[in-house]
């Protein structure tokens, strides 16, 4: 647990990866997409503090030792949740598959949770695969990538009747946490690819499921906020918000946090560090130290308390994923109180 000024923070990183973007894994003929994808990630990487930047080759694929050091030993993360992303059109063995994530998770029991995935375009075979994945990995969540390319299709929508079949299956199996990533190439291209309206439809129809919109719907923060305020089961995944703005654009970081605190609220915001786009250490330490600036332009945004930081950094995600939280990291359990009880 991260400790600062006598307070203990139980950190759940709700959006982590263990990817393989090495050149050996690029699909012949699709190299430009495989490279374009990881280059795009690398661009985001460079929005973090310069002392945390890696060279491109290392960025393509980190080792288990790198992961353990960066995330657990130095990164203050107690539990990390892997979000699987396949992208098999571009990466031969997949970019960041459930199998790869789960293999690592098995070696660190209690510290790593591997989420599954599904794609409604896979139909009955996909439903069967989801059941098998659940049987094998006891899934607590899935990551959906609505913009993924598949056999000429550039993506899908959560409103599709086929998607509803998969959501029903999640409900039936008890896979409660649906992480949704909005991406830039969803079909049809003449619509706004980042539109989060389909999440609204799904969240209204499946009230037992939690919908965590990753990257808070970036670049449609406003649409996300106006939607999330109406849906009790929609959450804000802060990955990319912290990593991409806290260092590079601190004023915008403050404003975006202010908007999220106002519309969505501190009980529904989940820290995500997005390893290895960024390492978690500077993000966790930065968030614990962060406060809304005092200038006038921020004056009507909510302030953070120690409790809000604890919730955002871990307690909210722990609640969604039934992760046990040590007593000394619970709300109100400051060092002084704990000392008084001892």
């Amino acid at each position: 647990m991260y400790e600062k000024d006598g307070e203990k923070y139980f950190v759940v990183d709700s959006h982590s990866h263990f990817w393989d973007a090495s050149q050996e894994n690029w699909v012949p003929g699709a190299e430009q997409y495989a490279k374009g994808w990881i280059d795009c990630f690398y661009g985001y990487h460079k929005l973090g503090p310069p002392e945390t930047h890696w060279d491109w080759n290392r960025y393509l694929k980190v080792t288990e030792e790198d992961f353990v050091r960066d995330v657990f030993d130095e990164g203050h993360v107690d539990v990390a949740i892997f979000q699987s992303t396949y992208l098999r059109e571009w990466y031969r063995d997949g970019f960041n598959t459930l199998e790869r994530n789960a293999a690592l998770a098995e070696r660190y029991p209690g510290r790593l949770i591997a989420n599954g995935r599904w794609d409604p375009r896979e139909g009955d075979a996909g439903l069967k695969q989801l059941e098998e994945d659940h049987l094998r990995y006891n899934l607590r969540g899935v990551k959906l990538y609505t913009a993924e390319w598949r056999q000429g299709s550039r993506g899908w929508s959560l409103r599709d009747p086929e998607a509803f079949r998969f959501l029903e299956k999640c409900q039936e199996l008890g896979i409660r946490n649906i992480h949704v990533h909005k991406g830039p190439t969803i079909w049809p291209l003449d619509k706004d690819a980042f539109d989060v309206a389909d999440v609204d439809t799904a969240a209204t129809s499946f009230t037992d499921l939690n919908f965590i919109v990753e990257h808070v719907g970036l670049p449609r923060i406003e649409d996300f906020c106006f939607m999330a305020v109406q849906e009790p089961n929609v959450y804000a995944g802060l990955s990319v918000v912290v990593g991409g703005l806290m260092y590079a654009r601190p004023k915008f970081f403050a404003k975006v946090m202010g908007e999220l605190l106002f519309w969505v609220g501190e009980d529904k915001m989940l820290y995500g560090g997005d390893y290895n786009i960024w390492t978690p250490r500077w993000q966790v330490e930065g968030l614990v130290d962060w406060q809304m600036p005092d200038e006038d332009q921020f004056s009507d945004y909510p302030r953070l308390t120690t409790d809000s930081r604890k919730k955002i950094l871990g307690l909210n995600a722990a609640r969604l994923y039934d992760i046990p939280v040590p007593a000394q990291a619970q709300l109100g359990a400051s060092a002084t109180q704990a000392g008084a009880q001892a």
Binding site: G43, L47, I221
Partner: protein, 227 residues
């Protein structure tokens, strides 16, 4: 003004529809040349390989129209570089084929609805840009809610708001209300706090996106400090 200056001035009217900012101010124009015979060649660049192709198409097509409209330009070649859909976009715009034809099978409509959607966001964000300084200057809510564009001190933000409304066919004259909803109806004083909240959120969203885009572009093309 030289011909090249006039071409640059034309490019300055071309906006990223999503960010509502000029492609010049965003540094998306990587080069611009005009021959003595009036052949213009403009190269555009974007922050990532996977930037949304629909907005990219609009920028290339708008740049084509704007440059070709410059007196003295006889032909225009607008080339988007380093993008996954560069060829489809560049060829489609050069052939004036439209978006649906350029992305056959992947799009059913041209992009006017998309463009209008983002102009509406710009109009909403623009109301925050204009109203916020007035409130800071001590305007009462009553005065703000009754304000018409002709009552306001002139500013680039006000000009920008009028321009975006005109593009949508919304009231933009001196007697038009400052605060209006998407359909062009005035906002009542009761509805004003929520309206202004939404306006600010929309502005924060658009400007924060611009922050990401500038940072990613600066890194991608080694531009040094971000503009």
């Amino acid at each position: 003004m030289t011909l090249l200056d006039r071409v640059y001035a034309a490019l300055d009217t071309v906006r990223d529809p999503e960010l509502d900012e000029s492609v010049l101010s965003l540094d998306f124009v990587s080069s611009c040349e005009v021959s003595e015979q009036g052949a213009a060649e403009v190269h555009l660049r974007l922050p990532t390989f996977f930037c949304a192709p629909n907005f990219a198409f609009l920028m290339v097509a708008d740049a084509y129209d704007a440059v070709l409209a410059v007196d003295g330009v006889g032909s225009a070649s607008i080339l988007l570089d380093d993008h996954f859909a560069s060829n489809a976009i560049n060829d489609g715009v050069a052939a004036r084929a439209g978006f649906v034809h350029s992305f056959a099978g992947e799009a059913q409509h041209e992009l006017e609805e998309l463009r209008a959607n983002f102009l509406h966001k710009a109009v909403l964000a623009g109301q925050d840009r204009v109203a916020r300084p007035l409130l800071a200057d001590g305007w009462t809510p009553e005065r703000l809610s009754a304000a018409r564009l002709g009552d306001l001190p002139g500013s680039p933000d006000l000009d920008r708001l009028r321009n975006r409304r005109e593009l949508l066919g919304l009231p933009a004259g001196d007697d038009a209300p400052l605060l209006m909803d998407a359909a062009g109806r005035p906002v009542t004083i009761e509805a004003m706090p929520l309206h202004l909240r939404r306006a600010r959120t929309t502005r924060v969203g658009m400007e924060a996106n611009g922050g990401y885009c500038r940072g990613l572009l600066a890194d991608r093309y080694n531009l040094g400090t971000t503009p």
